[in-house]
Every structure is written in C-alpha cells, then in structure tokens.
Amino acid sequence: MSLRRFMHRTRKDEDLAEEIESHLAHEQDANGARGLSGEEARRQARLKFGNPRTTRELVWRYGSLPWIENGWRDLRFALRALAKTPGFALIAILVIAVAIGVNTAVFSVINTVLLKPLTYPDPQSLMQLMNASPRGSFPGANIPKFNIWRQQSSIFERVAAYDFGGAGLNLTGGDHPEQVQGIHVTADYFALFGAPLAAGRTFTAAEDSPNGGHVVVLSYGLWKSRFGGNPNIVGSTVQLDGQPYLIVGVIGRGFVTDTPADMWIPFQLDLNSLDMAHYFTVAARLKPGITSTQANAQLRLAADQYRRAYGSSALPPEDGFSVVSLQESMIGDTRMPLLVLLGAVGLVLLIACANVANLLLARASSRKRELATRAALGAGRGQIIRQLLTESLALSLTGGLLGLILGFVGVRLLLGINPGGIPRLGEDGSAVTLDLNILLFTLGVSVFTGILFGLVPAISASRPNLAATLNENGSRSNMGFRSGKLRSALVVSEMALALILVIGAALLIRTFLKLEAVDPGFETHNVLTMAMSVSGDRFQKTGPVAQVIRDGRDRLMAIPGVVDVGATNCLPLRGGFGMTFDILGRPRGNAPFTGGAGFYSISWSYFNAFKIPLLRGRNFTEQDDGAAPGVVMINEAMAKQFWPQSDPLKDRIQIGAGAGPAFAESPRRVIGIVGDTHDEGLNRDPFPIMFIPVAQMPDAETALNSRVAPLWWIVRSTMDPHTLVTPISAALREASGGLPVAHIRTMDEIVVRNTARQRFNMLLLTVFGSAGLLMAAIGVYGVMSYSVQQRTQELGIRMALGAQASDLRGMVIGQGMTLTLIGVVIGIGGAFWLTRFLASFLFGVKTLDPLVFIATTLLLTVVALIAIWIPTQRATRVDPMAALRLE
C-alpha cells in the first residue's frame, strides 16, 4: 500500500499542483465576483490558500517512506564521497573482491558437494547399506547379505543392488568398437532411484533372474551420442562383448549416477548363491515415517540373524550392519577438508576486513573536519554512523559483486585443472553452478563484511571533538590516541591471522613434498597402463585369458621401444582385491584363518615390467601355468608380518579357504619375496600382498575377476610412452580379436592423480596464505607510513635537535616490529590450537612441526620488515626546516 503510494508520488504531486491551481482559479473567480480587480483577486486567493508548496510537501511527505528516502540520499552521498578518493576506493574494492572471491569459490564447492540434495526424488529417505565395525563402516555386499537386507520389509520400502561398472563393456558391431560403462543393477534399481524413462521400459523381475536373457537399458547420453537419439531404438539389439543385447528402454535426461553410466544391465544375481565375495553395493529407501535410527536398530537384529546363519567368521561379533544416508555416503571424508578450506577463507576475509577498516580509519581522520562540520550543522551521531556505514556497504557490495565473478570463474578454472578427487562435482567441476544459495551467500558475506569493517571506524569517527577539530588550522593534526590504538590492534590481528594461514599452508606444502619423496616401490617413468574389458563369455575360463596375455605380450614386445609387458587385475595406487589365507601347519589365530592380504593375479612378467625388485627366492616364469604346481609370491610386508621368525619360502599357504566355492583351490608354495609397493596410496604404508600367476587361477575365480575388473596392461618403454599409444592399442586389438582398450594413462599420471587431493589442498591453502600475507604486509605498511606522515613535525624537531637518521630509523622500525611481534605471538598461539584440524591431511609432518613454525615466523617477520622499511626511509629523509615550517 504505502510502497505503491511511494512509487506514484511524483505523478500524484503533479496532480496536486494542478488541483491547487484549479482551487486558486476558483477562489479568484469568487473574489472577482465580489468586485475585486484581477490582480487583487489573485492576491487574496493566494493569501487565503497559504503556501502551496507547504501543502504539496505535506502530501509528499505523507506518501514518503523515510528509510528509502534517507538510504537513497546516503547512497548518493557515499558514491560522491568515494569518487573523490578513487585510489582508496579501488584498493578497498579489490581487497574485498579477492577476499569475497575466495569465499564464494570455496562456498560454491561446499554448496555442490555438501548442501545440494541428491537429484533423486525424496533423497532424504535413500540410504546406503553399510558394514559397520569398530574400525569404521564401509559399503559393500555379498548375496547372503543382500538377501537378508531385502527381507527387512518393516523398515525398507525398496532395496536394490548395483555395482560400479567394474570391467567396462565392449560395445562392438559399429564402425568403431568402444568401451562403455555398463552398471549391473537389480530390477528394483530404477524404481528405487526414481529414474525417468525416455523410451521403452526397465527390466522385469524375470529378466533380472539368472538366465533371464541379454537385455539392456541405455542412458540418455549414449542414446544421443551412439544412436543419434533414434526414437525407434527400443526393440533393436546392440553387440556387447560380442553378444546381442536387446534394448528395452532409454533412461531420461538428467538422471545422474555417482559413477557415470552409459547403460544398465540386469544383475541376474543367483540369490541362492553362498558366494561370500563382496562385489556390489546396496541402497534402500526407508519406509515413510521410519528414521535411520529405527532402521539401524532393526539391522542389529538382521546382523545377528546373518551371524547365526553363516557363522562368526563371516561377521565377527563386534561387526554389524547399518545405514547412512546416500548423500553422506557419497560425501565420505570430503566434509572435513572442505570445512577447513572454508575456515581458511574465513581468515582471509577477516584479514581483508581489518585491512579495509584500517584504510577507513585513515580516511576518516583526514575527513575529520568534514565530519565535524556536519555534526556542527546538526547531524546526529546516528546519522553520521549511518552515512559512513552506507559508504562501507557501497564498497563491500561492489567488491562482493566483483568477488562473485572472480570466485565463480576462478573455481571453475581451478576444478578444470584439478578436481581434487572431490565427489559430486561432475566432469571437471561442471556440477558447480551459480544458484540462489551462492548468490545469497555472497550477498550475506558482502553485507557482513561491510558492517564488520565499517562499524568500528564509523563509531570512532562519529565521536568528534567539535571545537578542537574545527579550530585546528590544518589537517595535519596528530593521530588521535584512540584511533592510533585501534589501528595498531587491527594490524596486530592481521599479522596473527596471516601467520596462522601461512603456517597451515606450510604444513601442507611439507606434506606434499614428503609425499613426492615417497618411493612407490616401483619405477613409474616410461610406463603406460591401459584397461581391457574381458567381461565377455569368452573369458569366463582361465585358459583364454592367459592366452590373450601371452599373445598380447608377444605382439607388444615386437614394437620398437617396448622393453617389457605385464598384465594384472589390480593396478598399484588404484586399489585391489583382498583374500584370507592359512599357512599350512600353523595354528590358526583368533580368526578361523591365519590372516588376510592383498590378492593380485598377475602375469609372470609383472615384476619386470614395474621393476619391482626380487628380494629372495625366484620370480614367476612362463612355465608357472595351470599344469605346473601351485605357486605364490609375497611382498616384504607380508613376509615380515606373518613370518617374523621363520622362512616363508619353506611354507605353503591355502588361499581363500571358506570364502566360497569359487575360491576352492589347492595349497600354493611360496617361491619368492618382492619389495613393497605403496598400493593404497603414497601416504599409506605398504600392506601385505600375495601374488599368484593369472595362468594358475581357478576358472571360477577368473570368471568372477573378468566380471568385476578389467585386465590391466603394463607396458614399459625406452621413450615417452605417449608416442606408443597407437601401435600398442592396435597390437592389443589384434591379439584380443578386436577388443578396445580404455583408461590409457602413464604410471606417472596415476601417481599425480593419487596425490591430487593433497595437491589441491596445498595449492588452495598456499593461495590463501599468500593473499593473507600480502594483505597483512599492506596493512602494516599503511599504518607505518601514516604514522610517519603524522609525525613529520616531531621527526623534524628530533632531527633539528640532533637526532641521527639511524636513531629515527630505529625508532620507526621498533614501533612497527613491536606490532609485528605481538601479532606473531598471538598467531603462533592460534596456530597451536588450530593446526590440529589439519592433522588428517598431513603426512610425515606433525601439526606442531617446529621447522614450519620457525620458518613461517621468519618469513612473516621479513615481509613485515620490508613493509616497514619503506616508510622508514621516508622518515629519515624529513627535512627539519620544511617540517617545522608546516606549523
């Protein structure tokens, strides 16, 4: 109502003016009728009406909203005042833009990863089923677990199992074979995630049972790219691993899975299987009204049931089942790093605020006369504070707008270079989009910043001593005691915050250097790796797989520049499989078996291709095949852990006893010990691994392997392996009868990927630390040069009285360094407390690493010294005569 009035008041005023004219004319007419002359009639009319302007003002004021009116006036005035000092305004806006930019950047990542709900309908009720143990919980399921979870119909509305694409599928039958990601899912999967259909249907329960036939559902992306969005695609077939698959449906656009999927294939799980291998994950939707706490209570009973059925070897008494929300499960351990980054940019923002507040204080003291004049003319204290706050808000909002652009463009660039191994960000960070959350966040931070850096200077400036200020004959008055103290306090806090940031950055830099220095245990240079999917029916037995490896190796070795070739189902630094084992003739420990270790099937030339040293015994040879006696090699970590006193080469081990029929095999003799490799990541200690020759795998195990993991080829060359990609892919295609290879990467690239997150954290914190340090340096420079300028007279008198340049220099430096050192002490104290939050990111460095603390303190001190030195030079060049004449 009143806003409408406010918007229309100009038109209304014109209306009123005309109305008043009309009134006067009528009165004039009436006066004329009483016999007055034209001029007198008009005069009398005006006299009787009073001042028309007062009337109009009364009506105008009635239609006015004072806060908009005043705000607008303050804003116009603020812009005029800022335009008068463009240098100041520019610096302040830039400092704010950088600080808000880094905040927007980090928040936009947090928004995407932590805040945005999953894109599935009703995402809160989607749960991931977990194996809970005192050591932590992890997803993963076998068929017996899936069965028990499916039966919990009191808590779950729907339960579905799916894998992560595993080996990949070879899409053949077109002009070019292509490796695609096919996810195996149970029939309920689509209903569980609410997947929209673009065409056709999803699987029936019958199609999802063993021998249910070859059917496939395509993703929207594959449908468009490979089949040109053909509307009649449903009902036709595609060749997958040489087998025809009937296309029954196409999933609609916008259905996003965590691992990008090109197609979905029915899992066709044999639910009667007692296979204990975990090779898929399970998600469920809670029934309406059921909380995750209630679900977890019910799952404790389910765990007891499972334990009774399969024994405590399958599920130790301290372990159990649980649910966590699917979103939590996807976010995983990225929450803490992101929050630490948010904390770091928060510190940058505080430093920026202190910096701009200092600039404002300096500016306010040169505007003292202006403010005093305004106060003398009747401006209230509130009005002056409001005016100054409007100025700082104008600065912070402009800076915020610039920061929004800076931060958003910056984060997309950064994620394009290094996504940091953070989930939910999409391809090169494409999921990070500008949305209302980010706009509101940036607006909120801008307003908060404007008030934070504007309020203290505004309050201190609104307390002018009128008489004293107005009577001063120049602007060169001494810096007021109060504002001097305030500015020093701001500089001290800038120094302290900057030191905390720099210490954090230095800890991460040291972590990264330590990681770089880790010897992975194999030679990473000039090694090319690539994946070949062997998921087709051809490779369900060991013989053909061994044959492909033999043929492939022969062809690859013929390529000039290739030195050695290996193959494996587990690539170092990419994670692998594990299995239990028993050492024959040894009593079992607490568990039903002696221990567990990594379980890699490798070609006989694997160690040569990676140059992993043989420590004892002998290496595998081509003769260790299915016909020869069973052999196994172990790494040093396994030898040390399980044979601390004895010689492993004298023992035989039984692998996977009780793990299910697929793993039934006879004992193997330990024939050799190789050096350790950091297979779980450079920041993890090597763990025990047993290696067995691919050619000696039981067929059932090979079938399982072929289904869940690709065959990795390892090619060592004498030259840059990138140049060999084409001949290598061609040779492997020939050797395998037309199978494509994918995920072609050098081992060096895999190492870089492995440290991507540490690199990401280090990079960001270094940028934040440098920004903080620079701002703090500018801050101390600003305060010192202002102080020197204010004390020109005093310095001049001192010089006139015989002080040497070195005395003055010492005095100014002493003052500046005192501030710096107070800041350093506070900063070290803060870092003592805060670095503990970095503990989980560090590797090879303690949170209180003395080297880091000493080096960063020195760095900060030197930077501060340089910043102080410049104004000091000016102090020693004061001309005493000129200084005194200023009086």
Binding site: K12, H23, E27, G50, T55, V59, Y62
Partner: protein, 116 residues
C-alpha cells in the same frame, strides 16, 4: 522540518476536519474549493482554516478509501478534481458523527456539573 504540534489537539482537529469534509460531501460530489467554502459557510465562518491544509486531508481520506476522485469540469467551466463519498466513507461519517455527539454530550455533562 516537521511541524511540531501538540499531538492530541492535532488529532482532534484532524478528526473534526475529516468529519466535516465527509459531511459536506453527503450532498453530492464536489471539488476542493466548493468543499472549503461549504465548511466555512455552514459553520458561519467560525471554522476558517487555511484552505491549503484542506488538501492533505482530502488525499488522506482518499487514500483510506473513504473518498474517490476524478477530474471534471466545474460550474465555472474550469477543470477541477471532484471528490465523491464512497460507501465506506458514508459508514465512517456515521461512526465519526456518533463519536462526536457522545463526546460533546459528555463534555456538556461535565461542564454542566462544574457550573452548578
């Protein structure tokens, strides 16, 4: 500068002026000048207010929905803005007149007692 008046006096005067305007318009639509003259004449010139202060009141009453207005041509053949009493205005007039009578009656009682 905002004019400072004793608020209660202002309120009473303002309320009275409002009531008089509404009352004047019972006879039919009229423009500002006619209304001002009407109030002066019917009060036998006792309530001679500055005519300019009439307009803020007219605008306020229109804003409250008690009056509506439109431009027209006056008896002098001049353009003028005519105000018309709305249904809500009529209701308000009755209410205000009732309040006024009760108050004058009460004041009369008090003064009568004091005189005795």
């Amino acid at each position: 500068m905002v004019l400072k008046r004793p608020p209660e006096a202002g309120d009473i005067l303002q309320g009275t002026l409002d009531m008089l305007i509404l009352h004047t318009l019972v006879m039919g639509p009229a423009h500002g000048h006619t209304i001002a003259q009407g109030i002066e004449r019917t009060s036998e010139n006792a309530l001679e207010v500055e005519q300019g202060s009439l307009y803020p009141a007219l605008h306020r009453l229109e804003d409250r929905g008690w009056l509506s207005s439109e431009w027209g041509v006056s008896e002098n053949n001049r353009r003028a803005k005519f105000y018309r009493l709305t249904a809500r205005g009529r209701k308000e007039l009755n209410a205000a007149a009732g309040r006024w009578r009760r108050m004058t009656y009460a004041i009369g009682l008090i003064l009568g007692e004091a005189n005795e």
